[in-house]
Amino acid sequence: MRPLVPPGPEALARVRALAERVLGEQEFREALAIPLGEDEVAESRSLIRWFRRRYPTPGERLAYARRAYRRWAAALPQPPHPLASDSTTRSRS
């Protein structure tokens, strides 16, 4: 098995730009209208069940999220840029 080569800064920037792109109203409506597939629901529910079983309390889940974020950030070739954060409150302008 080949060792994992982390993506370079340019590739990360492209991925972030895609993830941070704001969809237009029509595109958003259309995407929302696509029903969840049975497999997708089953996979998501399985993930949720695992997470809740492993971390039964909200406090444990929050602690896990902080550990997971630290691991993720440590594996990046450069620290995550704040503009790539997942804020719900960011301006759409």
Partner: protein, 182 residues
């Protein structure tokens, strides 16, 4: 978070934004998340945890580095005062924050705060804080420390504020959660 972000804000300069004067004195800190939530809860501020951290609290394992709150516009001062002892300082004055509808409190941590009375979704629905707040759910994140979240349907609506692909993903996960809890 102290382990993840360089101390100070220099290399994180929020590229392209205007220089911030209001929080010039921000320094790194060891962040105690429980104390943070306790401070918010005990402040009496009407503050709803939204964003991906709320998904985590409910039981959805998603990656997130920030905190997002939707705060009643009249409770901005009490919220700021509550988190200031933890080293979290506002990026804008209260007047500026109210005018622009959002600001952040931060040190090594970053907490985005919405302070709008209502926020439009990307598909044109207007969501009012005063309607969402009475429907909130409160979950205990540590003994005696509760945190307020929007009801599930309202949390899904807040995910329509952003209109990004990852918001769509989160909506699908929240819908899966709803079907799991049904």
């Amino acid at each position: 978070m102290a382990e993840d972000r360089p101390s100070g804000l220099g290399s994180w300069g929020r590229g392209g934004r205007e220089p911030r004067v209001y929080n010039d004195g921000v320094r790194g800190s060891d962040f105690d998340e429980v104390e943070f939530f306790r401070a918010v809860a005990e402040s009496g501020a009407r503050a709803l945890l939204i964003g991906r951290r709320a998904l985590v609290v409910l039981g959805i394992p998603v990656l997130t580095g920030d905190y997002d709150f939707w705060l009643h516009i009249d409770d901005l001062a009490s919220f700021n005062a509550a988190v200031e002892p933890l080293g979290l300082l506002p990026t804008h004055t209260p007047e500026e924050a109210r005018a622009r509808g959002r600001y952040a409190v931060e040190n090594d941590e970053h907490v985005d705060v919405l302070v709008a009375r209502s926020v439009p979704t990307v598909d044109g629905l207007r969501v009012a804080f005063d309607e969402v707040w009475p429907r909130r759910q409160t979950l205990e994140v540590a003994p005696g420390v509760g945190i307020a979240l929007p009801a599930l349907d309202d949390l899904i609506l807040t995910k329509r504020f952003g209109g990004r692909p990852k918001d769509l993903e989160d909506i699908r996960l929240l819908e899966a959660l709803r079907s799991e809890d049904r």
